[in-house]
């Protein structure tokens, strides 16, 4: 059923129940996101897509559109909230872009540019975290994990459907874990997919790196905003 809603004052027609995120992007309104993957079940973990729905803050990926909905995306308060969320991620982990292999094709970095982050308003924490080298094909850089859970939900063992990645601990002690035995059974295509799915540089493929020269990296060819608006989610 087609319904009508308003995004930033603009009348928009959409199919009822479509995620607000998709509707906004299809109508040229960019909303940054770090955990949402189009066509996959919503995770709602990163909250970077926060917008105001009927004056209340909600994550755009979690909201199915209904008739008469009034959405504010580029409203000053919620725009600053999204920026603050991205800044908190940069302060919580150790996001050393100059030394990171994912730089230039990192969603977090690209979204940082889109929200106009120059510096984090939060204190940089420099929490020491152990890397995990156990798997033959994958290196886990825990410093950079933002706990989006994309890998936890969308990367699974092809035979059994078991999860390969998981999160242990709670709160500040949360840690991304890898089942090395299952990870060793991953095909090279599956490893590439997992690396690309990770919105930061936590899942790193061993034995390769720095393949694209500066200036020719993913988000330098086409920004994350242009990609999202064009429906290009690769």
């Amino acid at each position: 059923m087609m319904i009508q809603l308003k995004i930033d004052g603009k009348n928009i027609n959409a199919r009822a129940g479509t995620p607000l995120m998709d509707v906004a992007l299809e109508n040229g309104v960019y909303i940054p996101a770090l955990c949402y993957v189009k066509g996959q079940p919503c995770l709602g973990t990163c909250r970077v897509c926060s917008v105001k729905v009927g004056g209340v803050v909600a994550a755009a990926c979690t909201v199915p559109v209904v008739h008469g909905m009034e959405v504010e995306v580029n409203e000053p308060e919620v725009t600053d909230m999204r920026k603050a969320l991205v800044e908190s991620l940069f302060a919580e982990g150790t996001h050393n872009c100059p030394s990171c292999e994912k730089s230039g094709r990192c969603d977090l970095q690209a979204v940082g540019y889109e929200v106009g982050m120059m510096v984090s308003r939060f204190e940089y924490r420099f929490t020491p975290r152990q890397r995990d080298y156990a798997s033959e094909k994958i290196l886990l850089e825990r410093d950079r994990c933002i706990f989006c859970q994309r890998c936890v939900d969308f990367v699974r063992d092809e035979e059994t459907g078991q999860k390969i990645f998981s999160i242990s601990g709670r709160g500040a002690n949360s840690r991304i874990e890898i089942n090395a035995e299952l990870a060793n059974k991953m095909t090279s295509e599956q490893v590439t997919r997992a690396v690309n799915l990770c919105p930061v540089g936590t899942i790193v493929e061993k034995g390769v790196g720095f393949n694209e020269p500066i200036g020719k990296r993913k988000f330098e060819i086409k920004s994350v905003r242009e990609r999202a608006l064009a429906g290009d989610h690769k």
Binding site: T94, C97, Y113, M118, P128
Partner: protein, 216 residues
């Protein structure tokens, strides 16, 4: 530019700084030509000078700016203190020693606008990788257990009183003094530094567009 007079020196510790030494008077005609120009300078704390090279990457655009701007200090002129109050002060590098703190505080007191340039000044950058380890472990690795230690010599961690004390962690500049603007990047492009300086010189609000903002 003022001529510094020789400061009262504590002869007991035989301590004298280059910025306290008398300076050759600057040519009066040159001084007159600099009258009314916006004073700009740049200092380097703990970093690699890459941001100074990016400053130079403004290339011939600096020449046009020089009608309105005069550069009192850069990392290429190794004066320890800026000779005059500045309107715009760029800082590259983070804070990793007592000397860095003194230099940055003096700079804050003597600049109207302070700008963090590059990853080290903005959040600590590469030097802050040592924040993940205790300082003692870093010093031991560098001086005691170093693979390049000279054999047959008892290794020590340098501790001469003239050496500045290293801080336990590396800090971004804005955690030590108030910073007004930030230009991320390792190093930022000359374009980014030019954009900010050009905005300030022409009285526009400082705006670093997404297209030239980068973190690496």
């Amino acid at each position: 530019m003022s001529n510094h007079s020789v400061k009262q020196v504590n002869s007991a510790v035989n301590e004298i700084y280059s910025h306290d030494l008398p300076r050759t008077p600057v040519d009066a005609e040159f001084l007159a030509s600099q009258e009314g120009k916006i004073k700009v300078s740049m200092i380097a704390l703990v970093g690699c000078w890459g941001c100074t090279l990016s400053f130079l990457d403004m290339d011939e655009r600096i020449l046009n700016l020089l009608d309105k701007v005069t550069i009192l200090r850069s990392s290429l002129t190794d004066v320890k203190r800026i000779p005059d109050r500045c309107v715009v002060g760029f800082v590259e590098g983070g804070v990793a020693s007592e000397e860095n703190i003194e230099t940055l505080e003096h700079y804050r007191e003597n600049c109207d606008i302070l700008i963090s340039v590059g990853a080290c000044a903005v959040w600590g950058g590469v030097p802050s990788m040592r924040n993940l380890l205790p300082l003692s472990e870093c010093l031991e690795e560098a001086y005691i257990n170093s693979p390049t230690a000279v054999s047959g010599v008892i290794p020590i961690i340098p501790n001469h009183p003239d050496l500045t004390k290293v801080t336990t962690k590396v800090y971004p500049c804005h955690e030590v003094v108030k910073m007004d603007y930030f230009i991320p990047g390792c190093p930022p492009d000359g374009d980014a530094i030019f954009k900010v300086l050009d905005d300030l010189v022409n009285g526009r609000p400082v705006d670093l567009p997404t297209s030239i903002n980068r973190y690496d």
